[in-house]
Symmetry: D2
Subunit: 246 residues, 4 copies
């Protein structure tokens, strides 16, 4: 059992993990409701395996890691399909017998592009949509539509280097560490609730391209960690922050 009182939001969070067979779910809900305030949210017995859609652009490292885990059933989720705005990662995805959809963003409005994405996504009714290095900015409408379901990996230790080309900016600033951030997507670009962050050291010998290579490792690790936490129902949102019962 883990509890947390968010004194600023004036909210109470608790997560209880039970074990055993003689467990009457309905009575438990009734009993909890009888002691908790009317406005409380009670989530009982969530499904063990989430359904997810992964969206990508051209980089393989996060997708590859997720596909292998999915194949060996260690992702705590079922990858329903992969959508790419380029066709680059089709072959990798097909190796694991996961459907791949190429939805180009070119020669169409963002509205049309996102309608095409939504048609595919909705067909699979996913619990979460994971942006595994999906390099297009999504519209407020799209983000609102999937409120709370969108998880992104950003290639910097936010709030440093918000926006495009964070490794180039990191190189130019001469930082001695680089990092990655997994966060829920909101309509403030790169400003959503942070789930996981990590950094690794770099030094003066690193070119931008060396930073990109090192960064990929930490992006992969951070996104995987965030997926594990979210899919095990350990992450709660409180305003623009996350409570994580690890």
């Amino acid at each position: 059992m883990r509890e947390f009182v968010d004194e600023i939001a004036n909210q109470f969070f608790a997560r209880i993990e039970c074990d055993g067979s003689s467990f009457d779910e309905k009575n438990l809900v009734l009993e909890l409701r009888s002691v908790l305030p009317a406005y409380s949210e009670v989530i009982i017995n969530p499904k063990v395996e989430k359904r997810i859609v992964i969206m990508v652009t051209k980089e393989y490292h996060c997708l590859g890691d997720a596909l292998i885990r999915n194949y060996f059933n260690t992702l705590n989720a079922n990858v329903c399909c992969v959508i790419g705005n380029y066709d680059t990662l089709r072959e990798l995805t097909k190796k694991y017998e996961v459907p791949f959809y190429h939805v180009s963003h070119e020669n169409k409005t963002k509205l049309v592009f996102e309608e095409e994405l939504k048609t595919i996504i909705n067909e699979y009714e996913p619990d979460y949509i994971v942006l595994a290095k999906f390099m297009r900015i999504l519209s407020p409408e799209f983000v609102s539509h999937y409120e709370g379901k969108l998880i992104n990996i950003h290639h910097s230790f936010l709030p440093a280097f918000i926006g495009a080309s964070p490794y180039r900016k990191a190189f130019e600033r001469g930082v001695k560490l680089i990092g990655a951030t997994a966060h829920y997507v909101t309509n403030d670009l790169d400003e959503g609730p942070i789930i996981v962050q990590q950094t690794i050291p770099v030094n003066h010998t690193f070119t931008v391209s060396d930073m990109v290579i090192s960064g990929k490792e930490i992006e992969k690790s951070v996104l995987n960690k965030a997926m594990q936490l979210v899919f095990q129902d350990r992450v709660f949102r409180s305003g623009n922050k996350t409570i994580i019962f690890e």
Copy 2:
């Protein structure tokens, strides 16, 4: 021996550590000069123990650590004096028989304040001036005057949370790590060449004040590491970056 070619600045850096007694310093300089381009800078046999002045405000953790190391001769430097814009750390400093000067910034112009600082500093002819949680912004004139000699510890993993109250900002952003940055001071606030950076994990249970407490540990560690590197002549500046031959 360590070398580095900065291809962007088009500069070559080398650091050679020699051992032994039959070592003719003058001949070595002559020989090096004869093969190196005329514009090269050659630094030979720097003095082992630097002279430093430490400037503080009210927080004790960085100063305390430096004073103990100074007392046991493990700082690679000699702390000539401590200057505080408050009198708070006088007692701590006096325990180690190091002169302490209280130079208040109150009821005077920045110009006057800094002239008072300079009078004291110049008396000691320090190699470096270490801002160990000195919480006043120095004027461009002051910074230029001590160009390349000013080392600061900033309480965030720059460029995140530039300016005041970084821990409050970090708390409000809901980051999952906090950090500290030691850097040379330039006239762009918190934008000088970075020497050392580290981060440590935090979580949702951390209040601003918990972050401050955890942050102090890493500030202390980062500033100490930076001082070790600088005082052992391992840090070279190239534009707004540092080359560190560790």
Copy 3:
């Protein structure tokens, strides 16, 4: 609130932190006793500031850090006195107006040596005795006498390099990281319940002496972290392990 079920020891642990003024301690104990099994241990409202005795040999880094924190009231403990089996750290200790006792282990039996230690320790009735680089092995009698009160810092990432000269052994083995371990002392040398462990990277350029210098930093950090946890009543022992409600 934090809870943990140790399924191997078949034990349940809980720690509850309350806030507020209208808090009747006696009733709370009675109510808890009425619902808990008879064999349960209930610790209520422990005193906020522990009393500690620090034992040292010649190395200053852990002691210096603790004395400064003690002086600025950030140790969550009150350092009653320091005992050294050498006189080396007397001057440092005296700076902070803390009593220092030199109890040499030379020219006497371990029994006599430890009786002298006990006489001094008992006078102060400490809650904990912190071995801050105390380099003598204590007898089973001594350890039993202060069962659960002795905290030690060991200069390796246990169980690697048990016993003497861990840095030399680490150097000879060519490890790429070194570490430190804070643990409760039991009668199995370096085998007591571990409280905190950390490692830091080293490389082929490190001599034994460089490892010692780097190691001191992590020893200081690990011992301090362990003291914070223990003095805030966050550490529970379960067999030869610790449950830590951080």
Copy 4:
């Protein structure tokens, strides 16, 4: 350029990376030979892409990561084939069109088993043989035969928990961190020269199985890092240690 003087082995190591087209390899060797002692070893212009054979048992995580990198040409090596003493990882390997050989160790002597391995390995003339969670102990004859070419990933921060079941041992000891070690294989079990080591924190809530899961992440990361370093010719052996010019 990187240099290192191993004062104990009384040896000098240097690694120079050159760039440019007008580069006469033969003259360079001649010139170097003319100034270096006769017993020096000079390695010039090693081939960029190594040939490797990967040996596995049942665990997929290290192999999967290497196969994906191999597929996207970011391994700095070419995976010639995979040999498993179980058939478990055949399907994964075949997805990437890499030959997979199942060589069971059952119902035969170690001598016969290893002759079968050698027959396959030798066919591919690999530069390195990577034991990516290969859980059989190889004979001194086998190890000698591939002297300096065998890289292993061990699932503990050696020298802690040498031998079998390191995670169970770590759990029983109650350590607060677990780790992984990549090393060259020698005939002293788990005692070969260490290339890369990392640790990650664990706590009292980790079961053995949780440690195994967390450990896999770090095993994957450590083995990958070691392969990058070795395949880029950055690792030199000096006795039972490694010099790494990173």
